[in-house]
Symmetry: C2
Subunit: 248 residues, 2 copies
């Protein structure tokens, strides 16, 4: 299992990387200029993880404990002090103490979205501008604890909450339909999986973009065939434009 | 100039094509399952028009006058009677009598978005679920009448209204910044132009996708460089996935 932190370092956040601004490449905020704060450590280890450098404990030496004010200072430096959207991702950012950062940043006009699998509910989810719950489908090899997932939905009551589900195959797709059916009030974004995720040490590794595009077309066909017109289907635009390159 | 209709055929709508459902490939509704109604005829003739088969009077014999009920019947047949988003495009759909279609469809649960350059204001703009105003930048070769454009914004008071601006070069970009500055309340979507639009008779024509992608990356860089963080930058996803092919 990839690096569950048993103790956080005071109120420090374990940061794998901070980068941007660039546009958000996927989901509800696609196209929105964003600074990304990727935290280190995850309680999941999905078979097709595309961020192993922020998940696998082998890379924990590259994760830096930072106080919320230090993270915010770096976000402000990157954005030239102009408020924008901040995406908190990982790893699983929910295992980090992010409440203080969100409060600090929002006081300066920044907005915060967080993406998590929904395996840990936090009271500060309700402070987010957007919570992206991304439950992992069967192909991930990870089971979902739906009781905890529901706690996440409840904790985010005041935040705009959406579902984002990665789909690799028909089984994932059927699972996504079932999950979406249980949360009729949440907008659903489907995303074709990338079967050629970057090795953690090589972000120049080639993506089988034609294969991913074919999966995207298939996913559109499936949604249309089933008349699932409330689902939105979006690719990982950053991978289409920049490949597996990090920091864009 | 491409086919300004001086007389509409009763209350009939001049339809170039009705297709879908497929996902919307661009702008605020990207990824949303949609049926497209493309009307025939346009009061503009942009230098880089990608829909000449619905603009150039040479193709007017392919445009079919249809009663609103007939258009709605085709939308329902394509969607299997399940309500979804309908995109009214063209040509310039604003020159068609679309109010009755919108009323009829909304009564059945369908939603309607319309995309126009903003050269003609219609009272029924206010009934739309979304109005996409897409003023044409200098590279189009078309001048904008801002007084009429403002009438469009006013007419759409009750509709969600967004700006979508196609950008080919630095001049277009600077123009887009200026235009957006005049409409601070409207969300702005920037879209890199396709310099290899399909010839009207050949939808298998090859797109210079690498060139368009390079323009997309440049556009992201420009927005970030200027810290224009309220702009959203999105490509034509359908062209990335399906090329210039029609009907997807």
């Amino acid at each position: 299992m990839g690096g569950i932190p048993s103790v956080t370092t005071g109120d420090k956040i374990r940061v794998s990387e901070i980068f941007g601004p660039t546009i958000q490449g996927e989901g509800a905020l696609i196209g929105v200029p964003t600074v990304f704060v990727r935290t280190g450590g995850c309680d999941y280890r999905c078979s097709w993880c595309d961020s192993l450098h922020a998940v696998d404990a082998e890379y924990r030496d590259t994760w830096k404990p930072m106080a919320p004010a230090a993270v915010m200072a770096e976000i402000e430096a990157l954005s030239g002090g102009a408020p924008l959207m901040v995406s908190l991702s990982g790893g699983n950012p929910a295992i980090q103490p992010l409440g203080a950062l969100i409060e600090l940043g929002q006081g300066k006009g920044y907005r915060f979205a967080l993406e998590t699998q929904g395996s840990l509910a936090r009271p500060w989810f309700g402070d987010l501008d957007m919570l992206v719950l991304s439950p992992k489908p069967p192909s991930s090899g990870m089971p979902v604890d739906w009781q905890i997932f529901n706690h996440c939905v409840a904790a985010a009551a005041e935040a705009k909450t959406v579902l984002k589900i990665v789909v690799f195959d028909e089984q994932d797709y059927q699972w996504a339909r079932e999950v979406a059916g249980h949360y009729p009030d949440l907008a659903v974004y489907l995303q074709p999986g990338n079967h050629t995720p970057p090795p953690p040490d090589d972000d120049a590794a080639v993506v089988d973009q034609e294969g991913v595009d074919a999966r995207m077309r298939w996913l559109v066909d499936r949604v249309i065939e089933d008349r699932w017109f409330t689902a939105k289907v979006l690719p990982q635009l950053h991978v289409m434009l920049w490949g597996n390159k990090r920091g864009v």
